[in-house]
Amino acid sequence: MIITKDWIPVWKRNRDVFKKLFWVNFFLPLLEPIFYLITFGFGLGSYIKEIDGMPYKKFIIPAIVAMATLSSSFFYTTYSSFVKMIFQKTFDAIIATPVSIEEVVVGEIMWGATRGIISGFMVLLLLKMLNLITFLGFFLYLPIIASLAFTFSSLGMFFTATVSTIESFNYPIFLYYTPMIFFSGTFFPLSNFPEAIVTISKIIFPLTYSMISLRTLDISFNIKTLLEGMFPLIHGVIFFILSIKLMKRKLIK
């Protein structure tokens, strides 16, 4: 597997489309975290006093940031990449140039990650303006957002390389992505569940680590906590390599 800097023009292509479709594809989805904040933070949050010694509206902050990041990355390398690959034949056009299929996949994943980072950052800005995160938290969130963005961008590409029709994305979305969004210690703590379930949750849903870390990092810095929060990267690297290999097998016959 040889990957040169030729993935960069693929990344730039995606950036250029993003600029053109900024409003409809990017700005509108950013309203979603605001709805979550209103519903769970200010709505439901006013009935729940504290969770783990923390006001509920602060408890769900990591979830709101993560959801914006994850969906921005994951839905890019799933639906958007699939449409380009199968319907627009964009990948076919690119691999007839010196750019290889591996580099196309890297360019896609890297853009998916970039997109996730931008989304996460925008939500973070909003939360800072509402004074819902600390100054320290603002900066410590960034590496974790980046690792989540890369991981879920790679994971999305892995599914794109494995599904046969666009409808089949429902399998990973409803059997993996959606349960993870709810069961990773996002909107309620896992501490009341049996230890075994918590352990399983941590293994299959890497997001769990990031949620726990982010809540701590908002208050105090600790390198171990930061690294734990970036734990999903391990999944990310595995799926990054897998998706490149599978995509090559899928497209170069």
């Binding site: 250029d16 489309v17 053109k20 076919d92 010196p98 170069i252």
Partner: protein, 303 residues
């Protein structure tokens, strides 16, 4: 590159997809400055062959070199010198005409400044200057093909591959594309063309390979092949019930309720034909590649 030097050479190429053999022991060559056609019905193996030449597929066995380089060892270098006009107009629908070309130029590592100059010239060449800011999805079929030809020329390729360049176009647009192809030949480009339009192949190609079911059946200059295999004239008889044509000399092909008699001796054929029956419907015309193909395979090209 010198005259007569070999640009592409393929020897005993086989390509299987599972049980199906897409290419079965195919050998061919393309010389510098030639226009070479690969003709055959859908499923003959033309597109598979193009995928191998453009390094976007792996052969099962055999040897294939492009510019003297192995397609599986040096794909990047080979691809940097090829311009491909694919069957599908695979543009970026989100971009305008100009943006499509600009974005594509980056895949070849062309700097923005250089690309801007090239795009001006290419838009001029394909007569799309006034469409530069239109969305590609708004272009007509002919304009889309022209744009994709412009796109294939961004990297100033030595070898241009046109995969069914005029399929689905109106006669005027086809002629325009033909003019461009001839123009490119004059500029010293080597060109490969696949088509199932025989008039297109006869008009443009110096040499053709006729393919069917993954095999190359024959190879040569179109007019020579026609003369060698079937003769220069063809009598096509439309109503052929109970006609005794045994007296007419020539190669007879029965195909879809018609009789084709291929001959070099038009006079003899016509005299005999008039004697057979008065109300026979027929036409006499020069033989073409389509006749040759039907003669060789018993199949029609357009399916």
């Amino acid at each position: 590159m010198y005259e007569n030097s070999i640009i592409i050479e393929g020897k005993d190429i086989c390509k299987s997809y599972g049980q199906t053999k897409a290419l079965d022991n195919v050998s061919f060559y393309v010389k510098y400055g030639e226009i070479v056609g690969f003709l055959g019905p859908n499923g003959a193996g033309k597109t598979t062959l193009i995928k191998l030449i453009t390094c976007t597929s792996y052969k099962t066995s055999g040897n294939l070199t492009v510019f003297g380089l192995d397609t599986e060892k040096t794909p990047k270098l080979i691809k940097s010198k090829i311009g491909l006009v694919p069957q599908d107009n695979n543009f970026d629908p989100d971009f305008t005409v100009y943006e499509n070309l600009l974005v594509f130029s980056r895949y070849f590592g062309i700097s923005r400044k250089e690309a801007e100059q090239k795009i001006e010239k290419l838009l001029d060449f394909v007569e799309l200057k006034n469409k530069r800011n239109e969305k590609v999805t708004d272009l007509s079929g002919g304009m889309k093909r022209k744009l994709i030809i412009a796109r294939s020329l961004l990297n100033e390729p030595q070898l241009i591959i046109l995969d069914e360049p005029t399929t689905g176009l109106d006669p005027q647009a086809r002629r325009k594309i033909w003019e461009m192809v001839e123009d490119l030949k004059k500029r010293g480009k080597t060109i490969i063309l696949t088509t199932h339009y025989m008039d297109e192949a006869e008009k443009l190609c110096d040499r053709v390979y006729i393919m069917d079911a993954g095999k190359i059946i024959t190879e040569g200059k179109p007019e020579v092949l026609i003369k060698e295999y079937i003769g220069t004239e063809t009598v096509e008889i439309y109503n052929c019930n109970n006609i005794d044509i045994s007296l007419i000399k020539g190669k007879k092909v029965f195909f879809k309720e018609r009789i084709y008699i291929h001959t070099d001796d038009k006079k003899n054929a016509l005299e005999k034909l008039v004697n057979i029956c008065a109300d026979i419907k027929f036409s006499v015309r020069p033989s073409n590649l389509e006749d040759l193909f039907i003669y060789l395979t018993g199949k029609e090209l357009k399916e």
